[in-house]
Symmetry: C2
Subunit: 463 residues, 2 copies
């Protein structure tokens, strides 16, 4: 935006919302120019911190009227640039819309504003004996509005599903400022189009979410976590298939390959268990009684071909937390090793994980690239982080498209797709046509126009 | 359509698809002029029975080019007229697209065509130790394509959710004949807009579904059904809340009030258990072991205030089937008592069921109308059937709008909505604006135009 335009639009915001909510100071704007995406920034011209749905509506009305791009932002923990204002304009922060409006025990529903941190919802629900299951890795810092916009997943997707499985109602604001409500504290709804469905995972390009109704489930009374070291990744993944074929559905089945374990041992925690293993599986089993969890545990130990003596079972909350530390520190240890890296989160059918990972590992070795693979073995969503290390930056940037294309091609050939949790954002929009046909993309663009005819909302994302 | 137009379009269909798939015989067309909606018919001009996705695409191309209305049809078991060609034109039947393409045990996914009967999928899955949980009352005759189009529910929604929770992939055809694929055998997907989400529950107005990927879950190893008679409906519903507050989630919690039980006893089965009760609850508990099911059963019997000696527990498949017969025969017995009736399936938050039902019953009594209430107490989805009995037909038709409006008003005031499973179809389109704001309806119409700019697909439905 040009300086006089910034001045004009800011004045309109201040008039509509009050000066407190509108910022143009460079040092403040700077904090809103990035999210957690590696190697991506875009500087906003104006920051609006909405404190109510009315603020959101007024902001959008002004932007829509004056054709100003708006980038909605939760807590900025995305990793595909969804909250980065790549075209400048306004960042509309929802961080102050952070009330847990209600935990309705009787109907097992939480009503929350978009800026609430996901783990705060989980903790409040838990204090009532209830659980909000989706658990993205960033759950202690990400906001629920961002989870809905990105359709966030997490380890517990194996048993409990993802964000989309829990949203029973939404209030959202269209780019023209109209406020729309859909659903509520209801578990079934065939009343008109599933507007909630299309907003889920739309990455802030269709509407700004201002209220969310979340289904809660009874919290499991017993949870056990199991760490199993294997000699090789192949053995670990084979075991995942054996467990699932036994018709056991653990809450989570996470894997970490050799390189992930070693990096965590090097940078974060020198006391990592079995640092020399070829792979770890981290399995969570939960249930309503000791009996049912014990049954599952017994069946799992029957199929595991690893050395039974090496299996670690954690039952107390503190021991369980320690067991998860390695898994949760992988991304941080990658950052420490190589601040610039490529983070992919492709999905393949579970049965194709071994072929996908082993083939890809070999390909990357041939390209002399170090990769770290980990993630959700139980649902086919695989994190592949590739390290720049000391490669020349320009060379790295030049090489990326070929590498990304190869990863996506392999995932799609095996019946998968290019992103399972993180979204398209800025990083994958050039590759969307590998996963979705041109007709599908054209249809998506027409849907975009149905919501946002002037194309002001989160431009530069997805398409 | 005019006779010469019928001739011209039929000839185009015959040229594109072959004569076998195209019918204009009146006696055949007659069968496609109704679904299971009470008191509604519309005569088609041409019937096309597609045998492949190519047939669907060619049919739509011709209709789109020549502005001919098309009504897609599964097995015609809907109850809001979704498959009734109220504007004439073409009925595009998917009944011959009836292959179960694959039950993928390793990935726990079924790949099916839209014309497959829902219970056939369930049975095939079960033979592999897997379960497809959604269980609409018509599951032995309804088709899975219709289930997706209407986002069908069923008793097991309490624990297992509804159709939308199981669709991981779709192939669908747009009105212009383009074939689009979205998702597949994958459990997480953040790749572009959630096209599956918006098609789910769109009642055949956005696209014609030609292939469906369904998530399967391990089949429970132990299932028990429990029938509990109560003196009054209030007592029965109170018990539902007590059970849910104990953090027990049965697979199903169905209720039948006095009048439902009596009608079944009168018309279908004179050996109904406890025919004099004020209400029945039918509860299904399932799990992976006798232990876990026993635990739930014990907790439930603790909270039940009914006479424990009267509780019937069925464990064998045949006994369980007998227990469900009454519940499954309610609609049939209503038909026998009064062939013309109003079938509503409003949803309210579970905690509001007693207030909703008792208030409504009193209102209907004042209006001198006989009503039968039953359905899904565990998820707030309540079936309210109102009998015409010997009321004059014109008087009945004249009175209906007021009655419907009153039911919907009460549901919405309590935080619910106007239909949970059956959809808007033809029957509720005049009332959609009670549940959805004008802005929401305008947005929905723009979405419709994004899919179907010439408005040929299932006209006269939803809007």
């Amino acid at each position: 935006m040009k300086p006089d335009e910034i001045k004009k639009i800011s004045a309109l915001f201040i008039q509509a919302l009050g000066a407190r909510k509108v910022k143009t100071d460079r040092d403040i704007l700077d904090k809103y120019s990035r999210d957690e995406t590696s190697d991506l920034a875009g500087f906003p011209d104006i920051l609006v911190r909405a404190e109510s749905v009315k603020d959101v509506s007024e902001t959008l009305k002004i932007c829509n009227k004056h054709n100003v791009p708006v980038t909605p932002r939760g807590s900025g923990t995305g990793v595909t640039g969804g909250a980065v204002p790549v075209n400048g304009g306004v960042v509309l922060s929802l961080e102050l819309l952070d009330r847990i409006i209600e935990i309705d025990k009787k109907n097992m529903v939480a009503v929350v504003e978009p800026g609430v941190i996901t783990s705060d919802i989980q903790n409040r629900a838990l204090s009532e004996g209830l659980m909000y299951p989706p658990d993205p890795a960033s759950l202690d810092s990400c906001s629920i509005g961002g989870n809905v916009a990105e359709n966030a997943g997490g380890p517990k997707a194996v048993k409990y599903g993802i964000t989309m499985d829990y949203v029973t109602g939404l209030e959202f604001v269209l780019p023209d400022g109209e406020v729309i409500k859909s659903g509520g504290k209801i578990l079934k709804n065939s009343t008109g189009y599933n507007l909630i469905g299309i907003i889920l995972g739309s990455e802030g390009t269709l509407a700004v979410i201002t209220k969310i109704y979340l289904k809660l489930v009874p919290a499991p009374k017993v949870t056990k976590d199991i760490l199993i070291p294997f000699d090789s990744l192949e053995e670990a993944i084979d075991t995942v298939c054996l467990i699932l074929n036994k018709k056991i559905v653990p809450a989570a089945i996470e894997f970490m390959e050799e390189d992930a374990i070693k990096l965590v041992a090097k940078h974060i925690n020198s006391k990592v268990q079995y640092p020399g293993a070829g792979a770890h599986l981290l399995i969570q089993i939960d249930g309503m009684s000791e009996n049912s969890v014990f049954d599952d545990l017994e069946m799992i130990s029957e199929v595991i071909k690893a050395d039974n003596e090496k299996i670690i079972i954690a039952e107390s909350a503190s021991h369980r937390k320690r067991l998860w530390e390695t898994r949760k520190s992988i991304r941080e240890s990658i950052c420490a090793e190589s601040p610039v890296f490529l983070a992919e989160d492709t999905v393949v059918p579970i049965s194709e994980i071994p072929e996908f990972l082993i083939g890809l590992k070999n390909y990357l070795k041939l390209k002399k690239l170090r990769s770290v693979m980990f993630g959700h073995a139980g649902d086919g969503n695989v994190h592949i982080d590739i390290l720049k290390d000391d490669m020349n930056y320009d060379e790295w940037k030049k090489m990326l498209p070929e590498i990304k294309r190869e990863i996506y091609k392999r995932a799609i050939l095996l019946g998968g797709t290019i992103t399972g949790e993180h979204g398209i954002g800025c990083l994958r929009k050039d590759y969307l046509n590998m996963a979705i046909s041109m007709d599908g993309i054209e249809l998506s663009k027409r849907i975009k126009a149905a919501f946002d005819p002037k194309m002001i909302l989160n431009p530069g994302k997805i398409f």
